[in-house]
């Protein structure tokens, strides 16, 4: 069993839900990202998503776009992100998951990337714009390297397609709670609980909910029916607001602890 499956099994054993914070690698630079991941791990994160910046992040709202632009300006590349994971791996027991866009992963070549990611200790990969129909070689390469290709599902996903997705998904299924782009929002999408319980009827795979989750209250609400909550834009807001890395690490650490508290 991989690190991701282990983690969800442990959490289920303890009756806890997963807190999955996200941050963009290299925003504002890779050393700060390393400090932030360590702080998140310390503060109670169960799994950490590390975003690989892309020049054209068409599924992201303004917060993540700005974050990606800062990361690219600091010279962040996929190779740099893999080096970051290599540095973090001995210090972090939580699963580390990369999230990015197809062109960046495929530029390295499917098999080369899978081998390099395995080497440094990546546990899962989420590719925003690569549905299973297009990503067969990529997903097969990851699975052969023992890395989980994590798939996304959305409120617009038809039922028959959902069956295909849960069958192909590894690690967990990432359910995007709103139609639209990433960003912190005040209202949770209606029908979320029902949608998640429908997935549960057809599969035992852990279901985590993301997109638009920004407060401990929302995290607690999601924790009632899902296996985990992904928090992204709200954390990037904190990183953006801090003028220097020191305060960013402190505010992110406090916020992650508060969010995890809502899931225990």
């Amino acid at each position: 069993m991989g690190r991701i499956a282990d983690r969800f099994a442990q959490l289920r054993g303890r009756g806890e839900r997963a807190l999955i914070p996200f941050l963009t690698a290299g925003d504002p630079n890779l050393p700060t990202t390393e400090a932030l991941v360590l702080a998140m791990a310390e503060a109670g994160a169960d799994l950490i998503e590390v975003g690989v910046p892309f020049s054209d992040p068409s599924a992201e709202g303004p917060t993540i776009q700005r974050s990606s632009e800062r990361a690219l300006r600091s010279g962040t590349t996929l190779r740099g992100v893999l080096k970051l994971i290599q540095n973090l791996r001995p210090k972090v027991e939580q699963p580390l998951v990369l999230m990015g866009y197809a062109n960046v992963f495929l530029a390295m070549g499917e098999r080369n990337f899978a081998a390099a990611a395995k080497e440094v200790g990546v546990d899962g990969v989420i590719t925003v714009d690569l549905p299973p129909e297009e990503g067969q070689l990529f997903f097969d390469s990851l699975i052969e390297s023992g890395i989980d290709p994590i798939l996304l599902a959305s409120p617009t996903t038809p039922e028959s397609r959902m069956e295909m997705l849960v069958e192909r998904a590894r690690g967990f299924l990432y359910y995007v709670s709103l139609t639209g782009v990433t960003g912190a929002r005040k209202e949770m999408a209606a029908g979320l609980e029902e949608a998640v319980s429908k997935i549960r009827e057809i599969s035992g795979i852990p279901v985590c909910v993301g997109f638009g989750i920004s407060t401990p209250e929302q995290v607690a609400e999601v924790g009632r029916f899902a296996d985990g909550a992904v928090v992204w834009s709200a954390l990037v807001d904190l990183i953006e607001a801090a003028e220097t890395p020191g305060p960013a690490v402190i505010s992110v650490s406090e916020f992650v602890a508060k969010l995890k508290g809502a899931l225990r």
Partner: protein, 400 residues
């Protein structure tokens, strides 16, 4: 369970590289499109609009003075500049906006670079009583203030895009974001033969009218097909519209002309087919301008319509298969040909189309006198007149 193969692939290119939230909308479009577009009612309404509103068929003009001047092949121009709004863009937007109406979508969004596709979409939306919002990069808004006014005059809302390079590619990203958010009531009207399946096919089908007409017109006038087709390629819709009905006519050579900008070796160009690599951008796999780390870089061309770092996937396929070839023309030669065609034939071409004219001028003298070259004059150059005036003035002062 086997994962179903997605149709809409052109060899290794095309496909549907989009976030999960867009899949259902693309499937809805994929199912609705053939049903609606093949219905007699839709066909009749579209043909009626093309004839009575868009000004089709457009003329085929024999370029007598240009032919004499170059001293080689006979040169014909397919006059898309004479279509309503001054370019081939209208063929696509009338088709897609009518499709949106038949699908029950009352809100249409579009991306635009210099504003041509935005103006065309705003036009079709006014005609068909649809709500219209256009995404346009802040930099382009500044450079093309008149087109922004045109769109607003036509009743559209223009949304400035401030992310990335603030140009066309960022406007496409923003339109995709809007579509993902408002997917239930919104139709995304893409401006070229690009994007996720089924868009490259839909836009091609609506632009095929160019080639269908030109093919018949050539038979009527010359009693035979042309030897060479030449069209400029940015996203590639006017070229695909001309080429596609000729694909099975093996004797007809097809040449797409990309923007070499300041030269291919300068890195400042828009030549994805000539200098790009296979990658994923804007929902498709195609040839794109991307660095070794997979980041997309900005395209450059004197012509805003060719200033795009990708290209329609079917062109990439035609290139690989050898059925079409792709050449380039740089900023300077396009500018020269802008002036040349104006003086020779009394036709001010769009800067985009001037790239096709520029390439034709390099090959026509070497062809036999009975050979026939057909250039797609994709648009008229009125929109470019202020920019060209400034460029020519700068050129003049530079030479003194």
């Amino acid at each position: 369970m086997k994962v179903a193969e997605i149709p809409g692939h052109f060899g290794e290119y095309g496909g549907r590289y989009v976030p999960e939230v867009l899949i259902a909308a693309l499937q809805e479009l994929e199912e609705a499109y053939p049903k609606i577009s093949q219905s007699g009612e839709f066909r009749a309404e579209l043909d009626g609009l093309l004839a009575t509103y868009a000004g089709r068929p457009t003329a085929l003009t024999f370029a007598r003075r240009m032919t004499d001047d170059l001293g080689g092949a006979k040169i014909y121009l397919k006059r898309e500049d004479l279509a309503h709004t001054g370019a081939h863009k209208i063929n696509n937007v009338v088709g897609q906006c009518l499709l949106a109406r038949y699908m029950g979508k009352r809100r249409v969004i579009a991306e635009t670079g210099a504003g041509q596709h935005g103006v065309a979409t705003a036009t079709a939306c006014a005609l068909l009583d649809l709500e219209c919002e256009v995404y346009m990069g802040e930099e382009d808004i500044e450079r093309q203030a008149l087109n922004v006014f045109r769109m607003e005059l036509l009743g559209a809302r223009v949304n400035p895009v401030s992310s990335g390079s603030k140009t066309l590619k960022d406007a496409i990203n923003e339109a995709m974001r809007d579509w993902a958010t408002n997917i239930r009531n919104t139709y995304y009207c893409i401006g070229s033969v690009m994007g996720p399946h089924p868009y490259p096919t839909i836009v091609r089908d609506f632009q095929r009218v160019i080639g269908i007409e030109a093919r018949q017109q050539m038979l009527d006038v010359e009693g035979r097909l042309p030897d060479v087709l030449i069209a400029c390629v940015g996203g590639g819709s006017n070229a695909m519209g001309l080429f596609h009905p000729f694909i099975e006519d093996e004797g007809v050579q097809m040449i797409g002309v990309e923007a070499a900008g300041e030269g291919l070796e300068s890195g400042r160009h828009g030549a994805a087919l000539s200098a790009g690599s296979s990658g994923v951008l804007h929902g498709m796999r195609s040839l794109v301008l991307s660095d070794d780390d997979g980041q997309i870089f900005e395209a450059h061309s004197v012509s805003a319509g060719l200033d795009y770092p990708g290209v329609g996937p079917e062109h990439a396929y035609l290139r690989d298969s050898g059925r079409a070839t792709y050449e380039t023309a740089d900023d300077e030669s396009a500018l020269d040909s802008f002036v040349y065609l104006s003086r020779m034939e009394g036709i001010i071409p769009a800067l985009e189309s001037a790239h096709a004219v520029a390439y034709a001028r390099t090959i026509a003298p070497g062809l036999a006198r009975d050979a026939i070259v057909l250039i797609n004059l994709s648009g008229r150059g009125d929109k470019d007149a202020p920019q060209v005036r400034d460029l020519l003035a700068a050129r003049k002062s530079g030479s003194h």
